[in-house]
Amino acid sequence: MAEEVILLNFWPSMFGMRTMIALKEKKVKYEHREEDLINNKSALLLEMNPIYKKIPVLIHNGKPVCESVIQVQYIDEIWSDKNPLLPKDPYQRAQALFWADFIDKKLYVCGRKTWATKGEELEEAKKEFIDILKTLQSELGDKPYFGGNSFGFLDIVLIGFYSWFPAYQKFGNFSIEPESSILMDWGKRCMERESVATSLPDPERIGGFILQLKKLYGIE
């Protein structure tokens, strides 16, 4: 039976990267459609995600699935025969979902502040950012991946941010290196996987994109 899988995405999105990596890990054939979020959202995007009008949107045989974490769970459940992404054990699964929520609520917001704020607010954001990385690092511990020995769900949830780290540091004018070396090693390890290397953009491009955003929002 022909499966039709379409991914509506926007290349800098660390959320879209998650879904792409999950599809690639499962070796699912899909059609990638790039949305122009800055100028013109496509009619398909507005039809498939009328609530949030955001990417990524996964369209499977005509039915949309929205929100990146939900998409990764969905992909894991549909293509369950190979390469499980979420832990089997319910407790570990609950833990993984907890940390995914933490990353979305804390890391994303704080990261944004490193290029969008100045002065005291920026200084506070930089401190908080490093604290968040340290927390994630202690969750990783000495495991090669967040899930243990295999690359999995939580690695997929976090790795997109790895492509944004250089830009956060450049615009915020700070370094995360000494405190987060273990996390950086984890990032490099994930980048060795084809699914990750082909889904994350060049960090230089992210820098250019942030300049565009700053202009759009009138931030100096």
């Binding site: 969905y74 407790y91 699964r93 907890f98 944004r112 002065g119």
Partner: protein, 340 residues
């Protein structure tokens, strides 16, 4: 005989989030020990130990392992006690994805946001613009300008009994500029930033908005109301002088951009822009040309840009309606005077 599972639930009686695991545990006929956290007191040791990151309820502790976040807990209960009771999550992956999507929507989006305002009030326009910029859904309640104040207003703003009032998850926020700052900080992950990012620019924006609210508009109001020709003339001179100062400020702050905020509208635009409708209406009604291109060309251009901005034009009332309303206000004032 069998293993004794140790199931503890930490909650707060009033929390909707804590109700969720209670229902799930009951559906699965699971026995558990319930621990009530002190809402207004200090958090228990057990809570601090099991949820050190967020220190929040509910927390499910199953055989000494803590599970956090109410929806995660419900999924965990469904998977762990899968041999008893009904299935809580739907069986088909697409239906599950949908269920997760809508519960995330409930938790993240149905923040209860209410705005109490009066259609005509420039102060009430300000939070409307800010909420729109951040794409926040809200329920709007129109107060009766000439009638009695609603119960909701009297309860949420007992000190001043004035609009606008923003009620966010049952917490009232008062004073239009405070509300705009609150909206900017609370919904900080979406939409443009309303206040400027640099502390110096923020201080400038706050300074000029205080000038508009504390000096400039009160002068206009006083000049409009006064019966004395002398006081009116003096007042209008002050208003025009204020506009000249604002023109200078605009030129230096905007640096060639269309708005005080730069390429997009920001705090100062919202503050002063909320009065543009009144200025234009007064021009139509009284022939009073405060937005004089020969005197304040940049501000005049800015005023038109502001009114044609996509976010603003759906929020500010039509000039003709304002004209009509101002006329009515005047008539009421006259008849009140003639009655004495």
């Amino acid at each position: 005989m069998g293993e004794t599972e140790e199931v503890k639930l930490l909650g707060v009686w009033f929390s909707p989030y804590a109700i969720r695991p209670k229902i799930a545990l009951r559906l699965k006929s699971v026995d558990y020990d319930y621990f009530e956290e002190d809402l207004f007191g200090s958090k228990s040791e057990l809570l601090l130990k099991s949820n050190p990151v967020h220190k929040k309820v509910p927390v499910l502790i199953h055989n000494n392992k803590p599970i956090l976040e109410s929806l995660n807990i419900v999924e965990y209960i469904d998977e762990t006690w899968n041999a008893s009771g009904p299935f809580i999550l739907p069986s088909h992956p697409h239906d599950r994805a949908q269920a997760r999507f809508w519960s995330a929507f409930v938790d993240d989006k149905t923040e209860e946001v209410k705005l109490l305002g009066v259609w005509f009030s420039p102060y009430a326009i300000r939070p409307k613009i800010a909420l729109r910029l951040k794409s926040v859904d809200y329920d709007y309640f129109e107060e009766d300008l000439f009638g009695s104040k609603s119960e909701l207003l009297l309860k949420s703003n007992p000190v001043h009994k004035k609009v606008p009032v923003l009620i966010h998850n049952n917490k009232p926020i008062l004073e239009s500029l405070n509300i705009v700052e609150y909206i900017d900080e609370t919904w900080n992950a979406s939409g443009p930033f309303i206040l400027p990012s640099h502390p110096h620019d923020r201080a400038q924006a706050r300074f000029w908005s205080a000038f508009v609210d504390d000096k400039w508009f009160p002068a206009l109001k006083a000049a409009a109301i006064t019966k004395s020709e002398e006081a009116k003339e003096k007042g209008m001179k002050e208003v025009e002088g204020g506009l000249l100062q604002l023109e200078e400020a605009f030129v230096s702050i905007s640096k060639g951009n269309p708005f005080f905020g730069g390429e997009a509208i920001g705090f100062m635009d919202i503050c002063l822009g909320s009065f543009v409708g009144i200025l234009k209406a007064r021009e139509k009604l009284k022939g009073e040309k405060l937005l004089d291109e020969s005197k304040i060309p940049f501000l005049c251009k800015w005023a038109n840009e502001f009114l044609s901005d996509d976010t603003v034009k759906n929020v500010v009332p039509e000039i003709d309606k304002v004209v009509e309303f101002l006329g009515e206000l005047e008539a009421r004032a006259q008849s009140a005077v003639s009655k004495t």
